[in-house]
Amino acid sequence: MIELTDVHVRLGQRDVLRGVTVSLTERRIGVVGANGSGKSTLARLLNGLVLPTSGTVTVAGLDTRRHAARIRRRVGFLFTDPDAQIVMPTVAEDVAFSLRRRGLARQEADRRVREVLVRYGLHEHADHPAHHLSGGQKQLLALCSILVLEPEILVMDEPTTLLDLRHSRQVAALLRELPQQVVAVTHDLALLEDFDRVLVVDDGRVVADGAPAAALERYRELMA
């Protein structure tokens, strides 16, 4: 449950978001908008990577301004470029890095790492260098490193932009299965077809909000 109340964000000289009030309760929520519309900033508000200049963002009742650390434990964030997100040299090490501060016994941590890698088909690459993976596999690895922490909410910033059609479909299929609440910012409209709700962001405001068909129709009009 995420609540944004009259959120304004000013970065430098630019008003990136100008009065956004939404309450995000659905399981699958998409966010679309033109480049520079403020949608990436909107995503970054949800785990406290960006703080509102005015207004409030709360996740499960916690204000991102005061409880960013606790919120980040509940909200996983997937970036567009997995190269920026993978911090360890090899696949299994990167997943294990997520668990580092959980204080798990070595065997328990190894078991969880193996489990998540098996689930997403990366176990054969466990000891391979991350830079030997394909783009799609890297994005899967970034996802594994988040999901191993079992967050309640997953926020994704253009997760399929750098992927080919096959990997995009794989990510879409994964999204359908995930038990987490998902908020996905994307230009990949096919990804959003079976979502519960889509927000259209334009020039720092939410200009349409509703079922995917209607919202995407409005987005297409807006971009025409």
């Binding site: 911090v87 090899t90 997520s98 260098p129 830079h131």
Partner: protein, 201 residues
């Protein structure tokens, strides 16, 4: 670059099972010993010992060659230069010393996971706490460096391609500016990702 990043070959040999700290300490001792060796006969014995260690590790000939391959031309030049200033046994010993030291270091990387090396460094570095530094941050710095080598190398390749596509491949500026900008952008994104993954919690 592969000698630095993820050259690890999974295995169950004695060398794989030894703690990283023991291997790193042994590497330091062996390299020091190599510096002290003068006689070609002893050096030949050392070479045989290194070869035996490689055989025991079971990493395979290809992985072994990949470790020393990067220094092959350096070894040739060194040997030639040593011949000019020293005698033949001296030149052989000097060249073998460098090649064997690289081979030994390579053997440690081949049989040790980066995570084990970092955990060991974190322990060794723990006294830096006394001067107010966080050993975890120091070891993280090292692993980010390892991770960034292939990322920046890929960036450099892209920048070079872009320069070639625009016909400015001879311009140093057309290479350096986008490379530096790209590296800084990557650093920003990495910092954001570390925050999102709860590094500062």
């Amino acid at each position: 670059m592969n000698t630095l990043t993820g050259a690890y070959v999974p295995g169950a040999s004695v060398l794989h099972r030894l703690p990283a700290g023991v291997k790193l300490a042994a590497l330091a001792v062996c390299c020091t010993a190599l510096v002290l060796v003068r006689s070609p006969a002893v050096m030949a014995g050392a070479a045989a010992a290194v070869a035996a260690l490689y055989a025991a590790s079971g990493v395979g000939a290809a992985a072994a060659w990949a470790q020393v391959r990067p220094v092959r031309w350096f070894a040739v030049v060194l040997f030639g230069a040593q011949l000019l200033v020293a005698d033949l046994p001296g030149a052989v010993a000097a060249t073998a010393r460098v090649v064997l030291a690289v081979a030994l270091a390579g053997l440690v990387t081949l049989t040790t996971r980066t995570a084990a090396v970092l955990a060991c460094l974190e322990r060794v570095l723990s006294p830096v706490r006394l001067v107010g530094l966080d050993p975890f941050r120091l070891s993280l710095l090292l692993s980010l460096t390892l991770r960034s080598v292939p990322v920046v190398a890929a960036l450099a390749a892209r920048v070079r391609e872009a320069a070639r596509a625009r016909g400015v491949e001879r311009s140093a500026r057309a290479f350096a500016v986008p490379l530096v900008v790209g590296a800084l952008r990557h650093a920003d994104a990495l910092g954001e990702a570390l925050a999102a993954r709860g590094l500062d919690d």
